[in-house]
Amino acid sequence: DVKVTQSSRYLVKRTGEKVFLECVQDMDHENMFWYRQDPGLGLRLIYFSYDVKMKEKGDIPEGYSVSREKKERFSLILESASTNQTSMYLCASSPQGARETQYFGPGTRLLVL
């Protein structure tokens, strides 16, 4: 089974802090994604990556950056956390031959005070 793990289930941070969310997958998938999920807004794509050291902006990249130094690891960085970044953050991965079938991690609930 594909396993996607996220470094924290719950995080509480202060406004202005730099926040790192880590995601690791163990199935050698080429593609990795970061989403945020908010009530009434659904899942929105922040950034994705098709390869190591490669990144592409999703629909809502403002206020976020990402890093992919190794194939199995994809990090989401909030450079200066703000209260409107309070959300559920979901990481996903998919294989090259089936990009559309994504496997999700358990999510990180981030609260920014």
Partner: protein
């Protein structure tokens, strides 16, 4: 207007009922159609995946795609309390297969 619209629910049915979950979309380039199930406080898990039009069956679940009407459905037969979850539809195009567009989800409760 959103590219993908999903019946908002919530939906509450008795155990054993047939459930129909539906999404409409506006982008005619969508060719891949997925259904994800998300339990409370968990990440979504892929339930069904269909390419282009037609039906696909997997146990009690049937996914149906009608591209002419830009309408997709997920049917659950003999629904069980363990089916209680939020169901998300998702779609993507061939040229942009990695970038799925998700519906907002329909929350289903199956009462024993």
């Amino acid at each position: 207007q959103k590219e993908v619209e999903q019946d908002p629910g919530p939906l509450s049915v008795p155990e054993g009922a047939i459930v129909s979950l539906n999404c409409t979309y506006s982008n005619s380039a969508f060719q891949y159609f997925m259904w994800y199930r998300q339990y409370s406080r968990k990440g979504p898990e892929l339930l069904m995946y269909t390419y282009s039009s037609g039906n696909k069956e997997d146990g009690r679940f049937t996914a149906q795609v009608d591209k002419s009407s830009k309408y997709i459905s997920l049917f659950i037969r003999d629904s069980q309390p363990s089916d209680s979850a939020t169901y998300l539809c998702a779609m993507s195009s061939i040229t942009n297969a990695g970038k799925s567009t998700f519906g907002d989800g329909t929350t289903l409760t199956v009462k024993p």
